[in-house]
Amino acid sequence: MKRIIIILTVLLTTATFAQNKNAKASIEVDGVCGMCKERIEKAAIRTKGVKSAVWNVDTHELKLIFDERKTDLTTISKKIASVGHDTKEIKATEEQYNSMHPCCKYRDEEVQNDHKKEKGQRK
């Protein structure tokens, strides 16, 4: 059994030297709540070449697995910005930012505090 797993693992993760089909990266994306999470992950996954995207509301970290031959972090960041979320690399335009639900306006300190309070109560 163990051997099978090892063989399968070896087969599945064999990377081409030039460009990685399963490149892993994590970028910081601003956001405040579960609705943001859904929006960010959808935008990322709908980018051609992205295989998996998981965003953490507490750390703001977006864990990505993507095919380097088809996309890169800039493209993904652009896509995320286009739905209103800032990344380190690319900021959403006012217009994109304003398209979001009012409760997700993460640039607004009041909104941030509201969500912090919620967290405090959840704990």
């Binding site: 059994m1 797993i5 992205v50 998996s52 995207a53």
Partner: protein, 744 residues
């Protein structure tokens, strides 16, 4: 708002004749007292009040009848002072430590429906299982409208479950996704899984996934068991019922090392009191003893992404039923008294190995094996029935994605082996079944309105041949809080006619198999297609959550092993010639009436017909209409976790068709249809703390009973004896009490 009211009240009224009470409100700030403008001052229980001015002063009408003055301001503690005479008031408000925080609470429902899954699946949490102190899995569906529970016969005390109007052999019942209740354990297997071992249950209507095999036709039920790493360190449950049934459950869980945990689960139940409420000379419920032991080992290694379980289980179950005066030592195999004993021994070893690639979270491999040895020795009056069933099951599942995580794939291989040895009176039946199969299931989720699961499996089976099992489930959400679901799929199985219909032995019927040259008892396997559509809509009613569900399922048998009871002297098994279908419609309405008070109501309609040799007939002993209602209320949890919980469940069953008794002598003939029957169950739980709770309940509190469940009970060795015409409770009301003690 209050300010507003007060303003309205105050503005127009200024009567000089009235006495005025004057005063000042101050706040105690760091060093000195400061005037507090804008504070509310009003007479308790009246609408007479004022607001303090910029200098903190106020003035409001005074009457002798007013004697309590309330002074309040947001951010300060509200004070009530007693005023006995009209004199100047000076009052200091203290700042409250913090603003009253608004706490947003959400409560997980005990039974929840998913708005997102492609399959029509109900999640039943352990909270739901506590609503009726179920002692084993067969009793844990009492509060669930999708599953019907009834007695199989008037002798063995066995509860049968039905889904979509089809009985349990058509449902794939699994524990932790390993098919568990099949073959020899089909009749009593549900009572071999203690309720306290169950962590949660998932009930899927319709064919379900291809991953777990090809046998499910009406639905799938999966019970997740408690796990050593998450279950209580110590759990004790004691249960006693007025029928003198006693049960004891003990769980012990411990961490062996940082990666290994183990749990030991002990269950014992006993019932040694003879009851004959209806005076027919027969026990209303059997005498029994059961010992059930499970030992689980769990290995968790998050760095490597490995999780593994190894379970060992041993069961010994002994039942005695029949006439009150029956003594097995003395009367077995004689015609002194009619009696029956069913002794079962079962041993199981199951393993699970799961590997999730820590680098790539969407890739995982699971491998499951299950070995079981099941031995039942039994006799029913002069009928002998022994069965031995050795079974091996293994399933390898590989999960991955295609292009991105919207497209998930499950694929794998399964291998099963079953060996049956049966003795029916003087005939022996022996057969081996084995199958090798591969499956592929594609799940698409557009992250919005649509999810879909399309699966197919191909199996090579030594008796069922080579066949393909396709299944499709779609969920579409056109608007908010809704889910339309469609499902279609095929199932195929070999009918274990004796094991599944053991109740026939408790009668004088002659067993006939109308051999058609098939490979299982001379019969061909059963094949059915199941189609379903369901609509779930959540909405708010008077600002409280509610949801309604409509679903309609149709099962169409292409081939079936017909169990024909229509001649009172015979039971006939033969392959279907013509049509056999089961239509079921269900409407469900759930409503959270107010905080902590929920109701669940359902109406069900069944239309189930089969072409028997004697013509097209309704399936016997199935009510055409059924009503169900469950209400549950719990008080607010106190700081220490103490609370009360109340539950009530009502079931009403329409009349049910009795199998034909036209050929019997007049005195043994029954009506065509049974009376209707309604039962009510109640339970109260008092939680003292998270560690300790006690419960008290009543089943069938209105004491509804079927008068004469056994035909020709006075002459059990005569040719008209039959205990299968059961439509309702036999014993009447039963009260029980119990306690649960747990250490986290």
């Amino acid at each position: 708002m209050r300010k507003f009211i007060i303003l309205i009240v105050l503005c127009p009224i200024y009567l000089f004749s009235q006495d005025q009470l004057k005063g000042i409100v101050l706040e105690a700030s760091s060093a000195k007292e400061m005037p507090l403008p804008g504070a509310n001052v009003y007479w308790s229980g009246s609408s007479v009040g004022a607001i303090t001015a910029d200098d903190g002063t106020f003035s409001l009408p005074y009457k002798f009848s007013y004697n309590e003055l309330v002074i309040s301001y947001v951010g300060f503690k509200t004070d009530t002072i007693t005023v006995n005479e009209n004199k100047y008031i000076k009052h200091v408000l203290e700042a409250s430590d913090e603003l009253d925080a608004v706490v947003v609470k959400s409560r997980n429902q005990a039974t929840s429906k998913s708005y997102l899954k492609a399959t029509n699946t109900l999640f039943v949490s352990s909270d739901e299982l506590l609503k009726a102190a179920c002692c084993n899995l067969s009793e844990s569906f009492e509060t669930n409208p999708s599953i019907d529970v009834n007695f199989a016969d008037a002798v063995s005390g066995t509860r049968q479950i039905k889904m979509l109007g089809l009985n349990s052999p058509y449902i794939l019942i699994a524990t932790e996704n390993i098919p568990a209740i099949r073959g020899a354990s089909q009749a009593y297997g549900l009572s071999f899984i203690p309720g306290t071992w169950v962590e949660s249950i998932q009930i899927t209507k319709g064919t379900g996934s291809v991953v777990n095999g090809f046998e499910s036709i009406a639905g799938q039920i999966n019970a997740e068991l408690v796990k050593p790493s998450t279950d209580n360190r110590l759990f004790v449950n004691l249960y006693g019922a007025s029928s003198e049934r006693l049960e004891l459950n003990t769980h012990l869980n411990t961490k062996v090392s940082d990666k290994w945990s183990t749990g030991l689960y002990l269950h014992g139940n006993t019932h040694q009191q003879k009851h004959d409420v209806n005076d027919d000379g027969f026990l209303d419920m059997p005498l029994y003893n059961q010992i059930n032991v499970m030992n689980r080992w769990q290995y968790t290694n998050p760095e490597k992404g490995v999780v593994s379980f190894i379970n060992f289980r041993y069961l010994n179950d002994e039942k005695q039923a029949g006439q009150v005066n029956f003594d097995p030592e003395r009367d077995r195999a004689t015609t002194n008294f009619w009696g029956s004993e069913i002794n079962t021994e079962r041993f199981e070893v199951t393993t699970k190995l799961g590997y999730v690639n820590p680098e790539i979270p969407y890739q995982s491999i699971g491998f499951q094996t299950a070995f079981s040895h099941h031995k039942q020795d039994s006799y029913f009056g002069l009928n002998l029935y022994d069965i031995q069933h050795n079974s091996f099951y293994s399933n390898l599942v590989y999960n991955t994605i295609i292009s991105d995580s919207r497209h998930k794939v499950k694929t794998g291989l399964s291998f099963t082996y079953d060996h049956y040895d049966e003795l029916v009176n003087t005939d022996t039946y022996e057969r081996t079944e084995n199958s090798v199969g591969g499956f592929f299931e594609y799940a698409y989720d557009n992250l919005d309105k649509l999810t879909m699961t399309a699966g197919v499996r191909v199996d090579q089976h030594n008796r069922l041949g080579f066949f393909v099992t396709p299944r499709l489930h779609v969920r579409y959400t056109p608007w908010g809080k809704s889910a339309w679901r469609f499902s279609v799929g095929r199932g195929k199985r070999s009918a274990n006619i004796f094991a599944e219909n053991q109740n026939m032995f408790a009668s004088s019927r002659q067993i006939n198999i109308l051999n058609s040259g098939g490979k299982i008892y001379g019969l061909d396997p059963e094949i059915a297609w199941n189609y379903g559509i369901s609509y779930l809509q959540g909405f708010n009613l008077f600002e409280r959550k509610a949801d309604i569900t409509f679903d309609f399922y149709r099962t169409d048998f292409k081939n079936q092993v017909v169990v024909d009871w229509e001649n009172p002297y015979e039971i006939n098994f033969y392959n279907l010639e013509g049509d056999s279908y089961a239509n079921s419609f269900q409407f469900e309405f759930n409503y959270n009436v107010f905080e902590h008070f929920d109701i669940r109501t359902a109406y069900k309609y069944y239309d189930i017909k089969t072409d028997y040799n004697s013509g097209k007939l309704e399936k016997p002993l199935i009510p055409k209409h059924r009503l169900f209602a469950n209400a549950s209320y719990e008080t607010n949890q106190k700081e220490n976790g103490a609370q009360w919980k109340f539950d009530a469940t009502y079931n009403w069953l329409d009349s049910q068709r009795f199998p034909s008794t036209d050929l019997s002598p007049v005195e043994f003939q029954l009506d065509d249809y049974s009376p209707t029957v309604g039962t009510l169950n109640l339970q109260v739980t008092k939680v003292f703390s998270p560690k300790f709770e006690v419960y008290l309940g009543g089943e069938n509190v209105t004491n509804v009973r079927q008068g004469n469940p056994i035909v020709s009970a006075e002459n059990p060795f005569g040719s008209n004896f039959d205990s299968n015409f059961v439509y309702g409770p036999i014993f009447g009301s039963m009260y029980y009490a119990g306690l649960r003690y747990k250490l986290k």
